[in-house]
């Protein structure tokens, strides 16, 4: 009987898990990281087994990735999130995607990974110690505009005249947004402007020498349709979205686990 493989992605805010069976994603799960990384991970693994009605023996290999990967003792091995993401897109990318670039927008960081045609990592760039251009940034702005993170995308799509937001820092952007609100700007326009500004900031990170292939969005940020549109507008080309964007790292880890196991 084919084994099950689990990938754990210990991010800054959430711990994500994905289970692979015969090359397909069976189940995914997410939990708040909490204080006890390892305990949460253990619970996640148990939960996954219970949901798929398998025992721990059916699990072939567990691979950890993300910030807290070194402390996850349940895992058999760990791998850096860059590699995990590159493996993840082999499963999650749409069929027509020609490997080129992955834009990953996570909770507290964003990164760009460059792939060659065999999905091997060629190069990568990461944002600096700053939350601009990350999920946290979106959350803060959504809070000010009295909406939820899920609504941010659809709302911004309704905008007709996006505002101009220049700040690249969460704290300053916050005050900029507040002043826009005070000046009675429509929140849909503000959100749209915010997405464009985020996209611009991430595009700045891109390496000029890497132009081949298509662009794929992963991470929680990819669920935001407004941000997705903003990227397409700024890059002036199609941007694909991974099938389980926020689980891409975990799926990648599971994929590596299946190769190891």
């Amino acid at each position: 009987m084919a084994k099950y493989y689990i990938g754990l992605d210990g991010g800054s805010t959430y711990l994500k898990a994905a289970m692979l069976h015969e090359g397909a994603v069976v189940d995914t799960m997410v939990r708040n990281t909490g204080i006890d990384n390892n305990g949460t991970a253990k619970k996640l693994v148990e939960e996954l087994c219970r949901r798929s009605q398998i025992t721990q023996r059916d699990i072939g290999y567990i691979m950890a990735t993300g910030y807290s990967r070194k402390v996850l003792e349940v895992a058999d091995d760990d791998i850096s999130e860059i590699t995990a993401h590159a493996y993840g897109v082999r499963v999650t990318a749409p069929k027509e995607y020609r490997p080129g670039m992955i834009i990953d927008i996570g909770g507290q960081d964003s990164k760009i990974i460059y792939l060659d045609s065999n999905y091997a990592v060629k190069n990568f760039s990461m944002n600096d110690k700053c939350a601009a251009g990350t999920g946290k940034f979106m959350e803060v702005i959504a809070g000010i505009l009295e909406t939820t993170i899920d609504q941010v995308g659809p709302l911004s799509l309704e905008s007709t005249a996006p505002c101009d937001i220049n700040s690249t820092c969460v704290v300053f952007a916050q005050s900029e947004v507040i002043s826009l609100v005070a000046r009675k700007y429509d929140r849909r326009d503000i959100l749209s402007g915010m997405h464009l500004s985020m996209a611009r900031r991430i595009i700045k990170m891109m390496k000029k020498s890497e132009k081949n292939g298509d662009i794929l969005m992963t991470g929680g940020g990819a669920l935001n349709t407004g941000l997705h549109r903003a990227f397409e507008e700024e890059l002036m080309k199609d941007v694909y979205v991974a099938s389980h964007p926020q689980f891409n790292g975990a799926i990648g880890a599971a994929q590596i686990a299946s190769e190891r196991g």
Binding site: T83, A120, F124, S209
Partner: protein
């Protein structure tokens, strides 16, 4: 040297500083010594770093010989030796001094300058306090303002670095060096003659000769040495007379020759070979080289001004007259120098390409000290050039503190993993080869 009384509170602050600074330095020295594979003969270099940073000693020298502090590679040490003084490179990597300097300079100023200003402010390092003169080539805005700051506290001589390297600029720099030599004569009270200059050039030339031998040996066998140890060795050159340094290096070379004959390397594994370039790496701020090698990478070469690049270009006197020697020094300080202070610095790309060829580099880490604008500026250009070669490159921004170590670790680890997985399967060994 302070004649005015120091209040107990002030004294306590100084004591705190000294103990903190020496602890940090001792920690990094220990981490460095824990890395395997340092040749026995390199120990004297580590001892020099220990003397200066842990024990707070001054450069060892005969009585009455003055020290002249220099910054950047454009101030020819030959002139200082010719005037009968000993040059000391004062560019600093101290986290403790940085935290003091942080209050003296604007937030975005580079940490190197802040650390120097911090040392000057606290006044507990004999290395800084005993300097008879400080020479500051004006290579960037921070250095310029640092010159102004230091001038209030000690003797300072600035060197104007030309923006480009045209023939007229060289003539101008020769003139600048003559003026500098005049200041040196006044500081030391010695006359510079043809013989003293020739002797000085022989001293530094010998050190460069041994360095050229060292580099040749290093090129001949991959994994012969660890880059962190080499960086420490190059850093030690700042606090040793050139001829003494050369003599110690001679012993290292002898040991390396034996190693090569036994085909002995620091590792039997095919570790990813990494080149470090960008802003200077100065002891005790060697966290990046340490991280690279602790993460199972090999720092195969560095293109930084406190490392190989600062010393390796030899002085080539063409004309044997006094003026000819001065010209050769001025030319050596400017033309081969791939410091981003020069407007057109494409030669740095070629230098990197050559190093990639020489040392079979698989990845380049571009180090930017926070606020080091000139290096940051060149990142794009170099990234593009290396992209064409298919060499991965990442930019690492760091500051003089230990808060960003985790951030750096994540990046370096992922980078090393990337290189390992990039190797084609037939070259790629099993995991055991990497982690053994």
């Amino acid at each position: 040297m302070n004649t005015q009384t120091v209040s107990p509170r002030e004294q306590r602050q100084k004591d705190r500083f000294i103990s903190k600074a020496s602890q940090t330095a001792a920690k990094y020295l220990r981490r460095m010594e824990e890395l395997s594979g340092a040749p026995e003969s390199m120990v004297p270099f580590f001892r020099v770093l220990r003397d200066i940073y842990v024990d707070g000693k001054d450069v060892s020298r005969e009585d009455g010989v003055k020290t002249v502090g220099t910054y950047c590679v454009m101030a020819p040490h030959e002139l200082i030796y010719a005037a009968g003084a000993i040059p000391v490179k004062l560019c600093s990597g101290s986290y403790t001094a940085f935290s003091i300097g942080d209050d003296l300079a604007p937030r975005d100023a580079c940490p190197l300058v802040k650390a120097v200003a911090g040392f000057q402010q606290i006044g507990v390092m004999p290395l800084y306090d005993n300097c008879a003169l400080m020479v500051l080539p004006i290579t960037c805005d921070c250095k310029k303002k640092l010159a102004g700051y230091l001038a209030e506290r000690c003797e300072v001589c600035t060197l104007q670095i030309p923006v480009s390297k045209e023939d007229e600029d060289i003539e101008q720099y020769v003139r600048e060096l003559y003026q500098f030599l005049g200041v040196l004569e006044e500081t030391t009270g010695n006359r510079v003659t043809y013989d003293s200059l020739a002797d000085a050039m022989k001293k530094t030339g010998y050190a460069q000769f041994e360095l050229s031998r060292f580099l040749r040996l290093k090129k001949s066998l991959p994994y012969l040495l660890r880059g962190t140890h080499i960086m420490a060795m190059m850093n030690a050159a700042s606090y040793m007379p050139a001829d003494e340094w050369g003599r110690q290096l001679h012993l290292v070379n002898r040991e390396l020759e034996q190693r090569i004959s036994r085909n002995e390397t620091v590792t039997r594994r095919q570790l990813p070979r990494i080149l470090l370039t960008g802003s200077p790496i100065i002891f005790p701020n060697i966290k990046i080289p340490l991280l690279i090698e602790e993460m199972c990478g090999i720092l195969a070469a560095d293109e930084t001004c406190m490392g190989e690049r600062g010393m390796s270009d030899p002085v080539v006197p063409v004309d044997q007259s006094f003026d000819g020697l001065m010209r050769s020094l001025a030319i050596r300080a400017t033309r081969p120098c791939s410091c981003p202070t020069f407007a057109d610095n494409r030669q740095r790309i070629f230098r990197l390409k050559q190093m990639i060829r020489d040392y079979q580099i698989e990845g380049v880490i571009y180090h930017v000290l926070r606020g080091c604008l000139v290096y940051d500026f060149e990142y794009r250009q170099i990234e593009e050039a290396l992209g064409e070669l298919g060499i991965p490159v990442i930019r690492l921004e760091s500051d003089y503190n230990e808060e960003d170590v985790e951030q750096l670790r994540i990046r370096i680890e992922a980078f090393i993993e990337l290189i390992k997985l990039k190797k084609p399967p037939e070259v790629r060994r099993t995991e055991r080869d990497y982690y053994g």
